[in-house]
């Protein structure tokens, strides 16, 4: 290609105690190029971009930006040289408005009125309409991301780094974002795009660097490869999709009728009039962009949030106003999204964490006293059955990697012979092989006669394992439909379309 080279990275190496995050990584990006960094979780993508953004110092290696040596000691220096980054997790304050949030990230913020004008102008120019006086707490996830992007665009960046930007967007919102990114690229801004979503990378990116275990294993032009090729380069093995056999569905095990509850947090989403039922042997997939009531739905099903009697029935038994342990006795197990702090206590051992939710159904407590030997055996059983990599069940939960802890958490719930299983984001931040194992375990549970509810923001995952499909949007649940034959457009509309963000991109 004839593009002038913007950034060259040579031999970057970064080691943390016990793990080499990046080893001798080299690649380069041209001006106006959209370059993908592709790899599984833990492949070293984040560490690499943190070094480019000045958050982490490399142990070895050099970088060159526009022909000059580049070694930013802190993000402020990187920004001054035209490198901007949009993080996967937003750093915004709910209680402040858009302009105030943008001002907080600036070295020398202009007057509020002038800043608001600039935000309005830039957001319209790039097809990302945004009202500077709205409170961030009231924005959808897609709109919050716009705040982060516009915060970067105001600095007129030469290189924009985006870390998994589409994980919080509906398909329609992804389209809008891609048009914006293409416009930026056409103006000469280079974009370093991190993702593990292969179709996105094929449609957006000019070049891809593929990382595995901290090393560059391949570079390619994504358009010339199939998604399967890319996946196999990324994982390094041949992937097999989960297997399942058709089986007639049985009686209703979970029935939710007109469930409405308020969110426990100030900027949460209340559930409004939700009804659905799940049969024995069936998997119901619930999609939705983050923050549309997923957390609240899990809490309302697990019993952490009480609801009026009659709204939740487990195997015919009314459980609406009962707490978690009553529901466990009735046969419902749940695995919340947040592993550390909700599904598991970070500083407690795996044995103690096994007791956390297993006490009831596994009979680990008698007369108030804990059967530690039985609890340890239960934890060991989960570790063995779900291939949790850990030196032992005595280690603290926080010492496990995300994927291993997730296998433990999901395994702990599925090992309790449940009638109803509710999971939220079962494979978030989990590497591909662990994710496949977890999905297979959920399918197996359904095959063995459980009713399974999978709440997830990963559409591919839901389409792969769910029998029926519904979407949460603003705390309301769409009517469930059979997964077979659903198109991406239909799914996008169920998820709320572009959340009223369509506008702009005239002539794009």
């Amino acid at each position: 290609m004839t593009r002038p080279v913007l950034l060259t990275v040579e031999g970057l190496t970064k080691a943390y105690p016990g793990v080499v995050a990046n080893s001798d990584v080299s690649f380069s990006i041209g001006a106006g190029e959209v370059h993908a960094l592709l790899g599984e979780n833990g492949a070293g993508k984040s560490t690499l971009v943190k070094m480019i953004y000045g958050l982490v110092k490399p142990d070895a290696g050099t970088m060159t930006l526009r022909g000059a040596p580049y070694a930013p000691p802190k993000p402020g220096v990187a920004r001054a040289q035209g490198v901007a980054m949009v993080f996967q997790h937003f750093s915004l304050f709910d209680a402040l408005d858009v302009a105030e949030n943008v001002a907080l990230g600036m070295e020398h913020p202009p007057k509020m009125g002038a800043l608001a004008e600039r935000i309005r102008a830039v957001s319209l120019e790039y097809g990302l309409p945004l009202d500077p006086v709205r409170l961030v707490g009231d924005l959808s996830a897609g709109e919050r991301q716009r705040v982060e992007i516009i915060r970067c665009l105001l600095q007129d960046p030469k290189l924009l780094i985006m870390d998994e930007p589409t994980s919080v967007l509906t398909p329609q919102e992804v389209d809008i974002l891609f048009q914006t990114l293409r416009k930026l690229a056409s103006e000469g801004t280079a974009i370093l795009y991190i993702s593990h979503k292969l179709e996105e990378i094929r449609s957006l990116c000019d070049a891809a660097t593929i990382l595995r275990r901290g090393r560059v294993v391949a570079t390619c032009t994504p358009r010339d490869k199939t998604a399967r090729d890319l996946a196999e380069m990324m994982v390094g093995t041949v992937l097999t999709p989960p297997a399942r056999s058709e089986k007639p569905k049985g009686r209703v095990l979970l029935e939710v009728t007109r469930l409405s509850v308020r969110s426990p947090s100030a900027f949460g989403t209340a559930l409004k009039d939700i009804s659905f039922s799940v049969h024995r042997g069936e998997i119901l997939g619930i999609a939705g962009v983050a923050g549309n009531g997923q957390d609240e739905l899990l809490l309302a099903l697990s019993g952490e949030l009480r609801s009026p009697g009659g709204s939740v029935k487990i195997d015919g038994e009314d459980m609406g106003d009962r707490g978690p342990n009553d529901r466990r006795r009735a046969g419902l197990v749940a695995a919340p999204e947040e592993r550390l702090g909700h599904a598991a206590a970070p500083d407690m051992s795996l044995t103690e964490n096994a007791l956390l939710s297993g006490a009831e159904r596994r009979g680990l407590v008698s007369g108030g006293f804990i059967d530690w030997a039985g609890t340890r055996a239960f934890a060991e059983e989960v570790v063995a059955a779900y291939d949790v990599r850990t030196p032992g069940v005595g280690v603290a939960a926080r010492a496990l990697s995300g994927g291993n802890l997730q296998k433990f958490v999901v395994g702990r719930e599925l090992s309790q012979d449940p009638a109803v299983v509710v999971v939220n984001q079962p494979t978030w931040g989990v590497d591909a092989s662990a994710a496949a194992a977890i999905r297979q375990a959920l399918i197996d549970r359904a095959m063995n006669g459980a009713a399974v509810v999978v709440i997830s923001q990963d559409l591919d995952e839901l389409l792969e394992i769910a029998d029926r499909f519904a979407a949460l949007n603003g705390g309301r649940l769409s009517a469930p439909r059979p997964t077979q034959g659903l198109t991406v457009d239909q799914i996008g509309l169920m998820m709320g379309g572009a959340h009223g963000m369509e506008v702009a991109h005239h002539g794009a």
Partner: protein, 362 residues
């Protein structure tokens, strides 16, 4: 330069070793301070830590004082530690201690001068009830109206102190006391007295209760689901709710237990070492117990040792004051150092110190 690195698992070695290290560091830093004050540091340290227990001249008086002072500290600290572990902050143990003493003493005085075997047991129940009742005020206000339990429990201490003065001057005043404030002396009323059980040891029923509380708390935290829920609620409140813990019930329970134990401590004190309800009955045990609870890192065995150590520095400190003429401020600074070093070296339990020379090391 050095950097701190979080350990994947808390270090077992340092959990045990840090208190010892802290005491050694306190002795060194305190010794330097005493030397700067112109006193012999070795003599001062020996007077504080050694003489109260082993000096032939003082030990006969000081040694029993150790248990007399440590008993209420341990009893109160055990109760507080349960709440502190669950993230429930009862700062008003001093008030519950006072109310326990008033309730218990009132029951005893009501029977005066009758002799029945059940008077002391009844006083024990009344003492625990008084402390429990006083603790229920912040607990219920918090669960009902989401008030801040730290503030309410603390302010109730001052209310309790006013009630104490009013009792000493009014309802519970000794009718044969010639108009002086203060109740009859319970320790001279055999049916109500909490006397030394073994002569020369300082062991009274309150000390026995403290030891029993240590054992019960240990079993609760290690073996009982309630103890597990308490630890869980403190470490990961959301995980506790997921495990089915009702946070409001936990607040009532932790306040109830710590209030009742503080009330018991007050009762045993008023019926024994103090002897009477007087204006200056409150001696700060309820506040010092907060320090003891943290010194013992909220662990029952740790609290037992911390209570004894704290009592020792008090007794030894007094001894050093009149033997060596050390100012009382120096003794308080010394006690402060102990807490400071304990909290500081606590870091080693969860973090590893790495010495980095330039950029290369790692």
């Amino acid at each position: 330069m050095f950097t701190l690195e979080k350990r994947p698992n808390p270090s077992r070695f340092w959990t045990v070793a840090t208190p010892v290290l802290a005491v050694v560091l306190t002795m060194i830093a305190g010794g330097i301070m005493f030397a700067m004050l112109g006193k012999d540091p070795v003599a001062a340290i020996r007077t504080i830590f050694w003489d109260p227990l082993f000096d032939p001249q003082f030990a006969s008086y000081s040694r029993p004082q150790l248990l007399v002072k440590a008993g209420p500290l341990i009893l109160i600290a055990i109760g507080l530690s349960l709440g502190f572990r669950a993230g429930i902050w009862n700062i008003g143990a001093e008030g519950q201690y006072i109310m326990g003493a008033i309730f218990g003493a009132a029951v005893g005085l009501a029977f005066y001068p009758d002799e029945h075997w059940f008077i002391l047991p009844l006083m024990v129940l009344a003492g625990a009830f008084g402390g429990w009742l006083w603790a229920m005020i912040p607990a219920i206000l918090r669960t009902r109206f989401r008030t801040n339990e730290i503030l309410v429990s603390l302010l109730l201490v001052y209310v309790a102190q006013s009630i104490l003065s009013s009792m000493a001057l009014g309802a519970l005043r000794n009718p044969e006391g010639g108009g002086f404030p203060g109740s009859r002396n319970l320790s001279q009323y055999p049916a109500a007295a909490n006397l030394e059980l073994v002569a020369g040891t300082g062991m009274h029923w309150g000390v026995v209760a403290a030891f029993m509380a240590v054992i019960a708390a240990y079993v609760l935290l290690q073996r009982h689901i309630l103890g597990f829920h308490i630890r869980l609620a403190g470490q990961a409140p959301r995980a506790a709710r997921f495990a089915g813990v009702n946070p409001d019930r936990l607040v009532l329970l932790c306040f109830g237990v710590s209030g009742a134990l503080a009330g018991l401590a007050g009762l045993f004190e008023v019926a024994g070492p103090a002897g009477q309800i007087s204006i200056d009955f409150a001696s700060g045990y309820g506040f010092t117990a907060i320090i003891v609870a943290f010194l013992g890192r909220l662990n029952p065995i740790g609290i037992l040792l911390a209570g004894l150590l704290m009592a020792l520095t008090y007794i030894g400190g007094e001894l050093a004051q009149f033997m060596l003429g050390l100012p009382s401020a120096a003794i308080q600074a010394f006690q402060g150092m102990l807490l400071f070093f304990l909290l500081a070296v606590d870091l080693l339990t969860n973090y590893r110190i790495r010495w980095a020379f330039g950029r290369a090391a790692g």
